[in-house]
């Protein structure tokens, strides 16, 4: 009897261990695959063309810069919208809203997160972009900003969901301590609760930004996909072409093994590196915050 229990314990632990390691294996395999398909681009396409500013793949112009800048502009805009809105919503739900409001709001926000991005894209084409054009007096409503608005909508539920959990996990005694010292509700939120939940809130923000930069369908439908190098402030209100939309639009018809094919994978590597960078930055901030918190507590 005891032996079989022992065995079962062993097998289950091993299975759990395996599923833990599988994440590493998958990421490593994907990276290997990307490198294998993407690095030949450096040999097949001219380097001068890769660092050029023209993306016109059917005639071998593979300037990646406009696409990288397009992705960054759209994501930057989305972060500008989603971070304050997301944290604000999370704070309201966790700290301010009465219980019954919270019980309605949270599932609703999560429902928003489950909206298929194609549906958001339709909304963007038919509603958001015409109104943006009229409202901001732009030549066209299919701009990076339109993409940012919708991506903001996609990122908000992620940020809210994670940040609200983190705020909820802050012990009630922290808040009671602050109130006892005479702090107002806003002072408590800003000086005590938010800093205490900092690492969770930051994780939410990073996950949200990660979703925004990786989102494809909505962006492809509403940003106009013009490969213009975006470096001015006005670029946010001009059409842009993101890396994800480029891969999605062109991968279907590219000849296997051609320079264009490899360049598309190279773009995949760049996307991978950018999200790696975002994650590393996030965890280093979280790590530093934790160390400081530990110093204070000890």
């Amino acid at each position: 009897m005891e032996k079989s229990l022992h065995w079962r314990e062993f097998i289950i632990t091993q299975i759990i261990k395996l599923s833990g390691y599988s994440a590493i294996v998958f990421v490593a395999l994907i990276l290997l695959f990307l490198l294998n398909e993407g690095l030949p681009a450096l040999g097949k396409a001219d380097l001068s063309s890769l660092f050029g500013t023209r993306w016109y793949p059917i005639e071998n112009y593979f300037g990646i810069l406009p696409l990288v800048s397009g992705s960054l502009v759209v994501t930057f805009g989305a972060a500008l919208i989603a971070v304050p809105l997301g944290i604000g919503t999370a704070v309201y739900i966790a700290e301010i809203a009465p219980r019954w409001v919270r019980e309605i709001l949270k599932p609703l926000v999560e429902l928003l997160g489950g909206l298929p991005s194609v549906v958001l894209g339709f909304l963007g084409i038919l509603v958001v972009s015409p109104y943006l054009r009229l409202f901001l007096n732009l030549p066209t409503g299919l701009t990076a900003f339109t993409g940012s608005l919708l991506l903001g909508g996609i990122a908000v539920p992620t940020i809210v969901s994670v940040a609200e959990d983190a705020l909820d996990a802050v012990p009630r005694s922290y808040r009671e301590g602050a109130w006892a010292l005479g702090a107002t509700q806003w002072q408590t939120i800003w000086r005590v609760t938010l800093p205490a939940a900092k690492s969770g809130v930051l994780t939410g923000v990073m996950l949200g930004i990660g979703r925004a930069i990786g989102e494809t369908m909505t962006v492809m439908m509403v940003t106009g996909n013009a490969p213009v190098l975006a470096f001015k402030l006005g670029s946010l209100f001009a059409p842009a072409r993101t890396m994800t939309a480029t891969i999605a639009a062109e991968m279907g018809e590219v000849a296997n093994g051609s320079a264009h094919y490899h360049v598309l994978f190279l773009i995949g590597i760049i996307l991978f590196l950018i999200s790696l960078l975002v994650n590393v930055l996030a965890s280093s901030v979280i790590f530093r915050a934790r160390r400081r918190a530990e110093r204070i507590l000890s």
Partner: protein, 288 residues
């Protein structure tokens, strides 16, 4: 009780097996895989539907994806019939020869590219040269071509669309192989015809192009002249067939070698008056 249930499951399994084997013994349907040009996909579907009504023993499955996709599928053997809105390219032909495939061209219909603007745009005619200058970014305001003082927003299909390539060669480069004019980088590349139509419908600054068959009647079609001084011609079945409309082209189906059997019968049927009537119905131009 248990044994009854088991017997019942047994019976069910047998019944199912019997059903599936009955299906298999029906006369085997001949399947034609037709893949390729998005320009042609609606027409190919209409043909397939009509043909299958008349010949229930033939099954035709039609998918789009673009000319490049269709020809690639023909080359690697996953399609019997590739619809194409352009002639097969030299590289594709080379790849086909390596794989031992001999693509054979059949002209099945004609198509005209219509240039469309918002109905509120007063501009109603342009020369090919003016269109080229608009799309390459030399003309940026509608008042340079006799319109209002508005910026021009250029809409185009994605670079992998046959329509895009055709427009580039015929309009931007005016049919000159050595001309290296490009679409201006601020040209909006939209992934679908629907995107172009939706944007043109609501934006008075927009100019777009698409197959004549896809232009809804509430948009304004521009009359085009080949050279300044020539007559401005609106695209229509008559003007495409008498070759006075300058942005028109042939549409193709490619087979691997001389078609035989069902495939041959289908291609012959496509050239019949009945099938060509469908061509006109869908806004394309019949070849006869």
């Amino acid at each position: 009780m248990k044994s009854i249930r088991r017997a019942f499951i047994f019976f069910l399994t047998f019944a199912l097996l019997a059903c599936s084997s009955a299906d298999a013994s029906a006369p085997p349907a001949q399947t034609i895989e037709n893949k390729g040009s998005d320009t042609l996909v609606n027409l190919a579907l209409a043909w397939a539907e009509k043909y299958q009504e008349e010949r229930p023993d033939t099954r035709i499955s039609v998918t789009g994806g673009g000319t490049g996709t269709g020809i690639a599928a023909l080359i690697n053997g996953s399609a019997d019939l590739a619809s194409a809105s352009r002639k097969i390219s030299a590289e594709e032909l080379e790849e086909a020869q390596i794989k031992g495939v001999a693509p054979l061209e059949h002209i099945v219909a004609r198509d005209a590219i219509a240039v469309i603007v918002n109905p509120n745009n007063p501009v109603s005619q342009l020369t090919l040269r003016q269109l080229a200058d608009i799309y390459s970014g030399k003309i940026v305001n509608w008042n340079e071509v006799g319109g209002e003082d508005r910026p021009i927003v250029k809409l185009s299909r994605e670079t992998n669309s046959g329509t895009h390539l055709y427009f580039l060669e015929t309009v931007l480069r005016l049919g000159d192989k050595n001309n290296k004019t490009f679409f201006s980088p601020d040209t909006l590349l939209l992934p679908s015809s629907e995107g172009i139509v939706a944007e043109t419908r609501q934006n008075p600054n927009a100019i777009g192009y698409d197959g004549l068959g896809y232009v809804p009647s509430d948009l304004k079609v521009i009359a085009v002249a080949k050279e300044e001084g020539d007559a401005y011609v609106l695209p229509s079945i008559a003007t495409v067939n008498d070759q006075t409309y300058p942005i028109a082209r042939d549409l193709f189906m490619y087979t691997n070698g001389e078609p035989t059997g069902n495939l041959q019968a289908y291609l012959e049927w496509i050239l019949s008056p009945e099938a060509q009537a469908l061509v006109a119905e869908l806004g394309f131009v019949p070849i006869k």
